[in-house]
Assembly symmetry: C2
Homo-oligomer: 325 residues x 2
């Protein structure tokens, strides 16, 4: 089968496509013939050697895909050869074939193309786990989502809106601001023009209940100043800095919480719990059109480097998919 | 009435005793004739001007006391003149008389002296709120308590033991180590001799569920390295530094929580909720002798400066009370 190779990325500065042996599913896995896979920011780090995959995972890039089930392990239940699925992968989705734990497969929502379904698992699972489980967002709460135009941002905005929260997000351009407003945000802050702490303190004097942040660095201390009593800062990455300073006085005076998670480090069982919640609560909303995959751009496998560049330059508004024809 | 005055502390370096008008209880308050009050670390900061009391609170020092009820407000229920009580005060306990919200009064547990009862409210309420409510400590969990010999430490060790947790604490001398072992700690780390991170990683390879910390500074980053998956770092003060660095990777890889609180900043209603939990769960344990007030030393009102020095020099193992004869 064909895979996207990144091993000599450091030499060539490019991902390459080469031939390799297809994986074989174990008893709990299904083998998917990939029609489309999603690009995620951790992929950009992993190709540079900055985000080593877990020991048990494929060394090939790729955290999500859609396609046809080609083979099923002995203990697989409820999924059969020929089924159309999308799935969260532990790695290996940048390929014609990938093995996936049965628990991490989803039906493709009615009326969705393979490319649209391919970009659902990673961001919706990440957002569900962080916003609702760790962040305990509930109806009537307010949430501030940084990078509202990102793949994560689009999923987060829609999930928070679905939960009945007041949704505020930050972006860096007017174009991205319009995009997030169209997604249904209550307020969008263009942090290219405005200071988000001042904005929140002026417009939301009772402050924010939950912040979803992938920036870190100097955002961390600013985020704490935007939170009200019992507010939760949920960190899912740290594009601007891994070791921010925090003000313990802010935390103890207002009983704040700093927490966060990555999806990849979780056990199969935890991923199943999250996937099951999405199947029950969110897949019906996608099928009836209330929640959208926000597919921004689609590339062919041969254009994989262009797809990465598009994300590296932060040009995207929503998700990027790569299709294998 | 006599009160302890600290207003010219900066000039004289001493607390002084002077005469002042007694407070008058509002409808929800009781006036207590103070027999004994407890010394707490925030008092040391407040006298130096480093811990301003909330706007609504008395400017006089003192967060807890015991004594006789002398007067009751119109809306007070279940407490009458002449009752012996101990209480959490919003301030003002360093005095012959203090007004206290009715919700924050406790019966004095059977067989306890006024001086023993006076030192219960602040540390037991602080520990209950932080260990069980914010830290979610449960049976079978492990907890690391820094400063095990402090007033907070003694209460924390006993509450955690009562809950069925494995209790580890850190201290700075062998004498304090013996003291904490006698209180029933599973393990005591003398951090004058040993690195607590190495100790935990060696002796508790599955790591710690909850850490109760009042140190901050470089302890914060070390604490995070001691926590296992879903571990909670609960901060109640920061003697070594208010602005520590944190490693966001540690947090998101293990889904850690950093949180914390002070008791004083909470609403009357929150304090009531915490007090009610103690009355129900812990007061019976104090009455049957399973949990002790850990009164270390008792001073007369005229020795107030000696009492402060004893805590300032970290000589204490348990609580310090001042008695008004």
């Amino acid at each position: 089968m064909l895979i996207v190779c990144y091993k000599d990325y450091k030499v060539s500065g490019k991902l390459k496509i080469r031939e390799e042996q297809a994986p074989y599913p174990n008893d709990e896995e299904v083998l998917i013939r990939v029609k489309s896979f999603g690009i995620n920011r951790p992929d950009l780090l992993q190709k540079k050697g900055l985000y080593p995959p877990p020991a048990s995972a494929s060394k090939i890039l790729g955290l999500e895909c859609s396609g046809f089930v080609e083979k099923t392990g002995k203990k697989v239940k409820g999924i059969k050869e020929g089924d159309k699925v999308c799935a969260l992968t532990a790695g290996g989705a940048y390929a014609e074939k990938v093995s996936v734990h049965q628990w991490h497969c989803f039906n493709i929502p009615k009326n969705l193309a393979f490319s649209e379904a391919a970009v659902l698992p990673e961001v919706f699972m990440t957002c569900w786990a962080n916003i609702f489980e760790l962040g305990s967002l509930k109806q009537g709460d307010s949430i501030l989502i940084h990078g509202g135009n990102s793949g994560i941002g689009c999923a987060a905005i829609q999930l928070a809106k679905w939960a009945g929260a007041t949704v505020i997000c930050s972006v860096r351009t007017e174009e991205k601001k319009n995009f997030c407003e169209a997604l249904g945000c209550t307020s969008v802050i263009n942090i290219g023009k405005e200071d988000f702490v001042e904005y929140i303190q002026e417009k939301f004097p009772s402050k924010i209940n939950v912040i979803l942040d992938m920036i870190g660095g100097d955002f961390t201390e600013k985020n704490l100043r935007c939170l009200g009593e019992y507010g939760r800062l949920v960190q899912i990455a740290f594009l601007k800095g891994q070791f921010p300073k925090v003000d313990l006085m802010q935390i103890i005076k207002q009983r704040l919480v700093i927490t966060g998670s990555t999806l990849r480090a979780r056990s199969d069982k935890e991923k199943k719990r999250i996937a099951d919640q999405l199947k029950k609560n969110i897949w019906p909303e996608i099928e009836n059109g209330n929640i959208k995959p926000c597919l921004n751009k689609e590339y062919e496998l041969s254009e994989i480097n262009e797809a990465h560049e598009f994300m590296e330059n932060s040009m995207h508004m929503g998700k990027i998919a790569v299709t294998i024809s």
